[in-house]
């Protein structure tokens, strides 16, 4: 705890330079999505630029985060995944939790989670260093990004519109407007989306900050 408080103090009172080193990027909408290379839960190297030709959806996740847990427990995330996969979209679930923090999993555990929850991501990417998360400016779990078949970033933000505030835990998903599943057709048409940037909600991404 002392270490933690010292950290808070350090960051509150000084250290612009330190902050700059781990600054979150903020990739602009309707421009080329930043490329990255990652290892999936089967040890395979995945490069975003190799996926050109198919649209890609990025989902930042942390299975122990109550927000993510609710999306999976009520089969909401899985149904969005299914709609996307059926439309030929590549779905990448990305875990940026640092080792030792909530949501960090071994590759085996990641695969087990996929099976036990009936999820259907194309790949689960393990981003222990948080590099990809910061490249995309992922702040919360869940945090969603949609990239079209030409590699253009079309959406960043929340998965739906019920997240800010505690009503999230009391609102049925069928009452929500899902920004991802409702805009898949425009994504396939490589168009600029009607809603292209929202404020993501949820738990913070558990980056390595010490």
């Amino acid at each position: 705890m002392k270490v933690f408080l010292t950290l808070i103090a350090t960051f509150t009172f000084s250290s612009l330079t330190y902050a700059a080193e781990i600054k979150l990027q903020n990739p602009p909408i309707n421009t080329e999505a930043p490329n990255f290379v990652a290892i999936n839960s089967y040890g395979k190297t995945i490069q975003l630029s190799d996926l050109k030709g198919s649209p890609v959806i990025l989902e930042w996740t942390n299975h122990d985060c109550p927000y993510v847990a609710r999306h999976y427990n009520e089969n909401n995330m899985q149904s969005v995944q299914k709609i996307a996969r059926d439309a030929g979209i590549v779905w990448l679930s990305i875990i940026s939790s640092t080792p030792g923090d909530q949501g960090h999993v071994s590759p085996e555990k990641a695969n087990e989670l996929t099976d036990s929850r009936g999820a259907s991501p194309t790949h689960v990417l393990l981003d222990e260093s948080g590099e990809i998360g910061m490249l995309y400016g992922a702040k919360t779990t869940p945090h969603m990004y949609m990239i079209d078949a030409n590699g253009i970033l079309r959406y960043k933000g929340a998965i739906d519109d019920i997240g800010r505030g505690m009503q999230f835990f009391n609102t049925a998903f069928k009452e929500a407007k899902n920004y991802v599943s409702s805009q898949i057709n425009q994504l396939l048409a490589k168009q600029s989306l009607a809603i292209n940037s929202t404020t993501a909600y949820g738990c913070s991404v558990k980056y390595n900050y010490d």
């Binding site: 960051f11 509150t12 009172f13 122990d64 609710r70 923090d101 909530q102 505690m166």
Partner: protein, 665 residues
């Protein structure tokens, strides 16, 4: 006030628990309880409902939800920052009680680099104001309090709290929480420059730390620290990185040394005008400025002197015209430089600001009076003393032309021509590199006709032939000068007092004698009168009283304040705001030709439009801030709004009664 449905709250809670069984499984491990009691252990906090109700007759009081969070855990402010969530409170109260929305305490930054969240740690009380019908019974008050509590991980927890108001003992923690609420509004002035919002504010004590917590999400990025600099003179500027190019308005809490202040900021988009557009406006505005009432007499004298040069050789005309242009340009340059220097100290300034000083007004009065007397008495001032305007007699004295240019700008300062306000407003709110070109363009516009004359001296033959009529006209122009002096005397009186005006008139008398002496006597001691005038002026101007009561006060108008627009809009009340000052002659003209007319007054009453007046005769920082909201630094400025309009609109700077009424329809 119920949870929304018809089912009793208990059932709904139970339903929620089933629906989110996995979530609340975690909760129940920590003895999470849903029973209505007080206090409640929620898992990582103890929640309780407390009040400051003292006496059973009180019509308003506070209840507070107190959260005592375990060390290392925190909950969130209304804008939680990069992640998290504010709490949700659903009240269940008896009829006759109204619980208002929470009054958020000042948050702290809770950084999880590279993320930043805003919230509270430790022991916090969230105060809710309660209003009570006086005949209602004091009974129990209950709340379902859902909140997200986080350390490294986040857990939604909840407490159903009930407090019996009839038997509750007042808890000092509620008073303390209310006392510490960020209640005061701090005056700020913000602009967006590049990727940053720069917000200026004043604070009378040294600042150790400051942080601006924006209420709206998705406008700013949340950094571990926000750069703030002292601008001197108790002024500070804090920089917040913005996410979007356009920030029209925002609100939030400015935390200074841990103390919170409310910010309500309306920004005009700085991209509303480009530099080139502003320069063009300045050129046109400067040109029109020649025709404004305060400048006209001086300018017409200059024109007369050119007329008298008809038939002279062109190079002389050119040199005189260029001298005049030089005088104009160097004065505008000096004004721009002075404004930039004053602005760098953090003061809010505006066009015509120099006339907010009664000393400047007094000196201008004497200058106008002096010119008037010189014109009437036809004194031929020896070279060496500035021959204000009267270069008719001293054709070879180019310094005379130069100083006429200076004088023209000095007397032009109380005027704002159409187009000019927008251009100067832009100039003064922009970085220095943009200020200079705009002021130079203004000068160029103002001096335009004479510059043209310098280029084409032969065009002077288009003017009437010189003759005896000029002497007559010149003498006649003494009267507009004296009229200007009279107006300045009125300004002086509004700024100071009637007694001070008598002293100024006395100075005028001494000046008259001094000018008579110069005209009548020979030798060095004819200047004695001037010396006496100077000494007397120094003595009098050093001891001027300041009038704060505001003589422009108008019983039909509401007093302006910074919050009046948002207040009136909140009440759906249409309004017309008149930013005016005694020294602003365009404003005074508009008063007479529009605002004071019965037709206008009747229209305002018929349409139920609140008339608000902001009097800027004396220096007033708040009004300067108010003007800056409209990207203006000078007056006149007229603002109109009625329900249904998305935002208030700026009315034309020169008004007639018909134009004023038409622009409000």
């Amino acid at each position: 006030m119920d949870r929304g449905g018809n089912a009793p709250p208990f059932l709904l809670q139970w339903f929620n628990m089933i629906r989110m069984k996995n979530l609340f499984l975690a909760c129940s491990l920590f003895l999470c309880t849903l029973a209505a009691s007080n206090p409640v252990e929620t898992g990582h906090a103890r929640a309780s409902l407390i009040t400051n109700l003292q006496d059973s007759q009180q019509e308003s009081f506070y209840v507070g939800v107190r959260l005592e969070m375990q060390e290392g855990w925190h909950t969130y402010w209304e804008n939680p920052g990069d992640s998290g969530s504010p709490f949700d409170a659903k009240w269940n109260v008896a009829e006759g009680l109204i619980v208002e929305n929470v009054e958020w305490p000042t948050p702290i930054t809770i950084p999880y680099p590279p993320l930043m969240t805003f919230g509270y740690e430790g022991d916090v009380v969230f105060p809710f104001k309660v209003f009570r019908a006086i005949d209602s019974d004091l009974s129990s008050i209950s709340v379902d309090f859902d909140f997200l509590i986080c350390a490294d991980i986040c857990i939604p927890e909840k407490a159903s709290l009930t407090l019996d108001l009839s038997s509750a003992t007042p808890n000092a923690l509620v008073d303390a929480a209310v006392q510490n609420l960020p209640a005061k509004i701090i005056q700020t002035q913000s602009i967006v420059e590049g990727n940053s919002l720069k917000t200026k504010f004043k604070f009378s004590q040294p600042i150790k730390e400051a942080y601006l917590f924006p209420r709206q999400d998705n406008l700013f990025s949340y950094t571990p620290t926000q750069q703030f600099v002292s601008l001197g003179d108790n002024s500070y500027e804090i920089t917040v990185p913005v996410l979007k190019d356009e920030v029209a308005s925002f609100s939030g809490i400015l935390s200074i040394n841990g103390e919170g202040f409310q910010i309500e900021e309306q920004l005009e988009s700085t991209a509303s005008m480009s530099l080139w557009q502003a320069i063009l406006f300045a050129l046109i505005g400067g040109l029109i400025l020649n025709l404004m009432p305060c400048v006209f007499p001086v300018i017409s004298l200059k024109v007369l002197s050119f007329v008298s040069m008809g038939g002279d050789d062109n190079s002389k005309i050119r040199n005189h015209a260029l001298s005049f242009v030089g005088g104009v340009m160097s004065t505008f340059l000096s004004i721009a430089t002075a404004l930039i220097i004053i602005r760098s100290t953090g003061s809010m300034i505006g066009w015509g600001y120099q006339l907010q000083s009664p000393v400047v007004v007094g000196i201008l009065t004497l200058i106008m009076l002096g010119i008037g007397l010189i014109l009437l008495t036809n004194i031929n001032f020896a070279s060496g003393l500035t021959t204000f305007g009267s270069s008719v007699q001293s054709r070879n004295d180019y310094s005379g032309s130069f100083f006429t240019g200076v004088l023209a700008v000095v007397v032009a300062s109380p005027c704002t021509a159409p187009f000019m306000g927008a251009a100067i407003g832009y100039a003064l709110l922009q970085p220095s590199f943009a200020t200079l070109p705009i002021f130079l363009a203004l000068g160029l516009g103002f001096a335009g006709p004479y510059l043209l004359l310098a280029l084409k001296p032969e065009w002077i033959s288009a003017l009437p032939k010189p003759g005896a009529w000029m002497e007559t006209l010149k003498q006649f122009f003494a009267f507009p000068m004296i009229a200007t002096a009279l107006w300045l005397m009125w300004v002086f009186m509004v700024q100071t007092s009637g007694d001070a005006l008598i002293l100024l008139l006395l100075l005028g008398l001494i000046l008259g004698i001094a000018i008579w002496m110069i005209a009548t006597f020979k030798g060095r001691w004819k200047w004695l009168g001037m010396l006496v005038t100077l000494l007397a002026a120094v003595q009098i101007f050093n001891n001027l009283p300041e009038n704060t009561s505001g003589l422009l006060a108008d019983s039909s108008a509401e007093q302006w304040n910074l919050a009046i627009e948002s207040d009136l809009q909140a009440q759906d009340q249409a309004y017309l705001i008149n930013f005016t000052a005694a020294w602003c002659i365009t404003c005074q003209t508009n008063e007479k030709t529009a605002f004071a007319r019965d037709k206008v007054k009747e229209y305002l009453i018929d349409q139920n439009i609140t008339y608000v007046k902001a009097d800027w005769t004396n220096r007033n920082e708040e009004i300067a801030i108010g003007l800056a909201r409209y990207e203006r630094t000078g007056i006149p400025l007229y603002i109109f709004w009625k329900p249904g309009m998305p935002g208030s609109k700026i009315l034309p700077a020169v008004l007639t009664e018909d134009l004023l009424i038409k622009s409000m329809q």
